[in-house]
Assembly symmetry: C2
Homo-oligomer: 100 residues x 2
């Protein structure tokens, strides 16, 4: 990995992972949750794999379908981010003037 270009932690990847972990922990299928959340099975799968960003409305629907509060999902995400940030250092704040 090139110096100064650490791979950024992508929220959608950790969020998708959290959603998939919750769904599988409940023993539920992509089909069941996608139908309840009114999203296509393929799209939900892409969200779980971190390949698509879910809109706020869709995230609400998916949490509703899973029966989990959004606060819980984002607490899990925050915890995952803490772990990632231990591995990927946070870039130093850049305060150099921006060229006009």
């Amino acid at each position: 990995m090139a110096a100064g270009s650490a791979k950024p932690v992508l929220v959608r990847e950790l969020l998708g992972e959290s959603l998939r972990e919750e769904r599988t922990a409940q023993g539920r299928t992509l089909r069941e949750v996608s139908q309840l959340a009114k999203v296509s099975l393929g799209y939900l799968s892409e969200i779980e794999r971190g390949q698509k960003e879910a809109s706020s409305e869709l995230l609400g629907s998916i949490c509703d379908a899973l029966g989990v509060p959004q606060s819980s999902l984002f607490k899990t995400l925050s915890d995952k981010l803490v772990m990632s940030e231990m591995i990927t250092p946070i870039p130093v704040r850049r305060r150099e003037p921006v060229a006009a």
Copy 2:
């Protein structure tokens, strides 16, 4: 508000609010942060007002520009969601069969 149709909590609104609170607490301008995050001032303003969804990449850039870890932003979001969920009840999990 009509029964059974409580206004959902939109993550982008609380996330935008969190970003704006962090920026103003630092005494920094939209212009400064937008230049550092390489996003237009207008777009950053729309994100802060909850009118646009920020991609994961852009969220990473904004957090970088603000010098805050993403974990901290999403912990704040989770806390705000807890407060919202106290006001807006979480819908009961719907498990009725979906029509084929």
